[in-house]
């Protein structure tokens, strides 16, 4: 192997500028960011209500639940898995905390903790089946999706739970910033994104998550305990679904057995994929996911504002997911 530089390095400021532009365009979050900007330009041209400050705080409140779900989903997808159960697990956690607090007389804080733990338990179940029995994540989480759904309906007896004690509503409360209302839940979401970014990019655990998703055999050969990494990912994903349940409760102000079953589930996966994380594992960032979740929120909000019926919003989200996955597949093919 010679020491020659293998990039075609050519001198000149123009060349350097071109390379810089290419590098910026190749950065993983640029694509999603451009998509977000285009969407926003589109909707602000269609309706002048879109750019109002109050509309933005509304979008962020809608994004917060899906955004937190999508953190866990990102972790799972980075390991080349997928979690179809995220929405129904969150729904179950939400029912656990509200029923305990409203109907069983449990103190609000322990009720929240138990609800989150219920989601963590589902994460542990998913992770154990994926690592222990070596089942595909798709099948495991398709199963736990239905188990969580059934548990939600039996445990709640199909009742809704309200009024909720104020502790359960804390993250729905708002404060004023730059003329817009922000909820504490949005702040929590941003904090969670910062933590996830740090863990994925600045710690050895994060490297191992990428390596396991990228080439599990190579990861094993370098001494990484692949099963332990996978299990930690599913458990942490369960934790984020539990926190998302807490935020959902704070936003809707009731425990609803029919919540979080269709839109949130698909939206979380859509957010991750739109954010540039590869379904083949090993590639992607949580910052991309945050942008992806915002795109989904902007779409839903904008389509509602310009009067598109809900059923067509499903249509649009469905097309969006397939588009994003196609882009992922095409770039991957070019890379090989």
């Amino acid at each position: 192997m010679t020491t020659t530089d293998l990039t075609s390095a050519q001198p000149g400021p123009l060349w350097a500028a071109l390379r810089f532009v290419r590098r910026v365009l190749a950065a993983p979050t640029v694509g999603p960011l451009l998509a977000l900007l285009l969407t926003m330009v589109f909707f602000s041209l269609k309706t002048d209500r879109f750019l109002a400050a109050q509309n933005f705080s509304l979008i962020m409140q809608q994004v917060m639940v899906v955004g937190v779900l999508a953190i866990g989903q990102t972790l799972v997808i980075l390991t080349a898995g997928i979690d179809l159960s995220c929405g129904t697990v969150m729904a179950f956690g939400q029912i656990v905390m509200t029923k305990l607090a409203v109907a069983e007389g449990v103190d609000p804080i322990p009720a929240i903790v138990l609800g989150i733990l219920a989601c963590v338990a589902f994460g542990l179940l998913n992770g154990s089946l994926v690592t222990g029995v070596r089942l595909p994540a798709f099948i495991v989480t398709l199963g736990t999706l239905n188990i969580a759904l059934a548990l939600t309906h039996t445990y709640s007896d199909d009742l809704t739970f309200s009024p909720l004690p104020s502790e359960l509503l804390f993250f729905g409360r708002t404060f004023q910033l730059a003329g817009a209302d922000f909820t504490y839940g949005v702040v929590l979401m941003l904090v969670l994104y910062a933590v996830a970014w740090y863990a994925l990019s600045q710690t050895a655990w994060g490297r191992h998550v990428y390596a396991v998703g990228d080439n599990p055999e190579a990861a094993r050969l370098t001494g990484i305990k692949v099963s332990r990494v996978l299990l930690s990912v599913y458990v942490l994903a369960g934790l984020t679904y539990g926190i998302a349940a807490m935020l959902l409760v704070a936003r809707t102000e009731l425990g609803d057995p029919n919540a979080g079953q269709t839109t949130e589930n698909l939206d979380a996966i859509t957010a991750v994929v739109l954010g540039g994380t590869s379904l083949f594992g090993g590639r992607g960032t949580v910052i991309g996911t945050l942008i992806g979740a915002t795109i989904v929120g902007v779409f839903r909000n904008g389509l509602t504002l310009i009067g598109v019926e809900v059923i067509y919003q499903y249509l649009v989200t469905g097309i969006l997911v397939i588009l994003a996955v196609s882009v992922d597949q095409l770039t991957r093919r070019r890379r090989r």
Binding site: M1, T2, T3, T4, D5, L6, T7, Y198, Q202, T203, A204, W205, R207, H208, Y210, A211, G213, D214, N215, E217, A218, A219, L221, T222, G223, I224, G282, R283, R335
Partner: protein, 273 residues
């Protein structure tokens, strides 16, 4: 170098898989500073031997010594901790991570002080610096240590795997068909790299099917047949057809004749100079 102590030595290794005897009491020596090629037909037991030496499987009988001390590897982790690194043919790297991350994969370095202890923060700068130093030592040409492995050619990827092995292999490096997945030009690069690993003082066990490569690189050639070492030859004493004849059993080596006469192993040539 007669009388030198082998860095890695095995005596009478036996490994059975049900009815199949993969290793039938084979011996093995690797001396400091040499490239030892291991050749043999399919099923001759060379990959079983290598797996036993790298801890990937445990022999039923026999003993292995590292620098004169008996060792028992219960897994690849044990061998790795003892300073034995392995390079595999299938480019065992994580393509989405950059070069420095691949070199330190599974052995990441954390920052000193509270950032590292409390927040488990990686010391990326130190890892990049050290990885760059190893690449310079081995004269591996790469555009940047921050480059994703994905953007590298097959030869450069295998270069990353070799550099990782050379970085962590304190005692020796095992290369299991390191060029099998590569093209002609890339193979050349990796062969040169193997020579530089030896120049840097690390002994190498090279498993290869490619006789011209074996004869170009190896100081000694360990020939396996039917689960045994039938000969150890050097490129100076034997020609390629002779080595192949011993490997396939067309001719019996002196060692093999001695084995038949005495029913036990005899002294084998050690590297000269």
């Amino acid at each position: 170098m007669n009388g030198a102590q082998p860095i890695l030595e095995a005596r009478g290794l036996v490994k059975r898989f049900g009815q199949v005897v993969a290793l039938n009491g084979t011996d093995f020596e690797l001396y400091p500073g040499e490239i030892l090629a291991v050749i043999g037909d399919n099923g001759a037991g060379k990959s079983t031997l290598i797996k036993a030496l790298s801890g990937a499987l445990q022999p039923d009988e026999g003993e292995i010594s590292l620098a004169g001390e008996r060792v028992h590897f219960r897994g690849p982790g044990d061998a790795r901790r003892a300073g034995i690194e392995t390079v595999y043919q299938d480019l065992a790297v994580a393509p989405s991570l950059d070069i420095a991350s691949n070199i330190f994969l599974g052995r990441e370095r954390r920052r000193r002080g509270p950032l590292g202890l409390l927040f488990r923060m990686l010391d990326k700068r130190a890892m990049r610096r050290e990885a760059a130093r190893h690449f310079a030592e081995l004269q591996i040409g790469i555009p940047s240590i921050r480059q994703e492995v994905d953007n590298l050619s097959g030869g450069q990827r295998q270069g990353v795997a070799v550099a990782r092995a050379a970085t962590w292999g304190r005692r020796l490096v095992i290369m299991d068909e390191p060029t099998a997945a590569l093209g002609v030009k890339e193979t050349r690069q990796v062969l040169d790299l193997i020579l530089r690993v030896r120049e840097n003082g690390l002994p190498v066990i090279l498993i290869s099917h490619d006789m011209p490569h074996v004869f170009e690189l190896a100081d000694r050639i360990h020939i396996m047949r039917l689960g045994r070492r039938v000969a150890v030859v050097t490129p100076q004493t034997h020609t390629m057809p002779e080595a192949v004849a011993i490997m396939t059993g067309a001719t019996q080596s002196e060692l093999e004749q001695a084995l038949h006469k005495e029913g036990g192993p005899t002294e084998t040539p050690s590297p000269d100079g």
